[in-house]
């Protein structure tokens, strides 16, 4: 085999290595394996659905169907975006529910993580199970990417 042939084989081996295998998002998403960092997915998997861990769906309380929505926040499909992104919290003065691009300053994340600065209870208010770190990480990613209505 010629020198060029050897180099070609080495290059082919190296190029093959370029096809990296990534971690699976479903491994992070835990009890909601289909959860993705999009609003439609968060709506389906988090807001609308009680997951396999027993974590309660959000719309059980955050709905105005026959009731006053908790925290004056409606998370029903088609309405959640307008109630979250860039909207001031009705519970904590100066806080914004979702600051596009900035999960650390989004009050929604503070409530889901049960941070010390929240008013009222950690969400869901049932006392647990709460969202897993992975589920919250995916919601944060949706916010990091601009909290689009996607």
């Amino acid at each position: 085999m010629t020198q060029a042939g050897k180099q070609l084989i080495v290059a082919a081996a190296l190029a093959l290595g370029g096809a990296a295998c990534d971690e699976n998002l479903s491994d992070v998403a835990g009890p909601t394996p289909n959860l993705e960092p999009t609003l439609s997915s968060i709506q389906t998997e988090i807001f609308n659905t009680t997951d396999s861990s027993g974590r309660q769906s959000c719309i059980q309380c955050h709905s105005d169907n026959g009731r006053v929505p908790a925290g004056n926040l409606v998370l029903l499909e088609g309405r959640s975006y307008a109630m979250l992104v860039g909207v001031a919290s009705s519970q904590k003065a100066g806080a914004t529910r979702v600051v596009a691009g900035d999960p650390e300053n989004s009050y929604l994340i503070h409530k889901l993580e049960g941070r010390a600065d929240i008013i009222g209870q950690r969400m869901p208010r049932t006392g647990g199970p709460f969202l897993t770190d992975g589920q919250i990480r995916i919601i944060k990613r949706w916010i990091e990417e601009g909290a689009k209505n996607d």
């Binding site: 084989i9 080495v10 190296l14 093959l16 971690e23 998002l25």
Partner: protein, 277 residues
Amino acid sequence: MTDLVRRTLFALVLTALSVPSAWAQTPTPEEEDPDLEVNVSQPDFNLAALPTNLRLPKGKFAFRVTHRFSRPLGEGDFSDLLADFFGFDSGAQIGLELRYGLFRGAQVGINRTSDRTIQFFSQYDLANQQSFPVGIGIWGSIDGTNNFSDSYSPALGAVVSRELGRYGAVYAHPIWVDNTNPEPSELVDDNDSFLIGVGTRIRIRPTVYVTAEVAPRVAGYAPGDALLSFGVEKRVGGHAFALNFSNGFGTTMAQIARGGTANDDWYIGFNISRKFY
């Protein structure tokens, strides 16, 4: 691409790489192979972690053990450090590496570290100082976590060396490493790293060297601080013993790209290598 397909393809390529050495090389008497001679400027295949351009003779093996003790040297006071025998009493990340000379200027190897990472690597000597101002080795590797079954991080780059007569060598390592971020790609901005390692091995006595290396990430995912190591090394025949100090435990390319822990944490470690020729 499934894991099975990926591993099968990788095995096929490794096999293909091994074929030319069997059929196409003109047998060279061992005594005529200059790669068998001791290179006092590049006496070993690695600095602390980064590779050198030392050629492995065709058909020969080399083995290396790496230890990175997990006790930070700055923990507690000096009497605590002495009581722990400078960290040697603590647990360690251990690496076992075997490499083989496929054909003149080409070597392949496998390195497994005790965090269950397995790295396959190959290096090809593209140019050396006999015909070029610097030596250039092409580096390719792939790390796989959990015994090469979970997350794969391929790396591609070059090892550029300049031998300083018989007094050692200096190195630069422009290397791209993919999938360095442990999170899924959907959750991260950067999932690869481009590092430009620099290092040196200086011969201070006929068989004693000091080494230093740092691997700053100049683009992409770059958590923590750049992995930084320095050490002292003694060559004894086919063996090399190196005592080193690092701000992290990395020895595979993806581990190196993920950086050290912090500049405040330093760890003692050692490498022992053996050439079977």
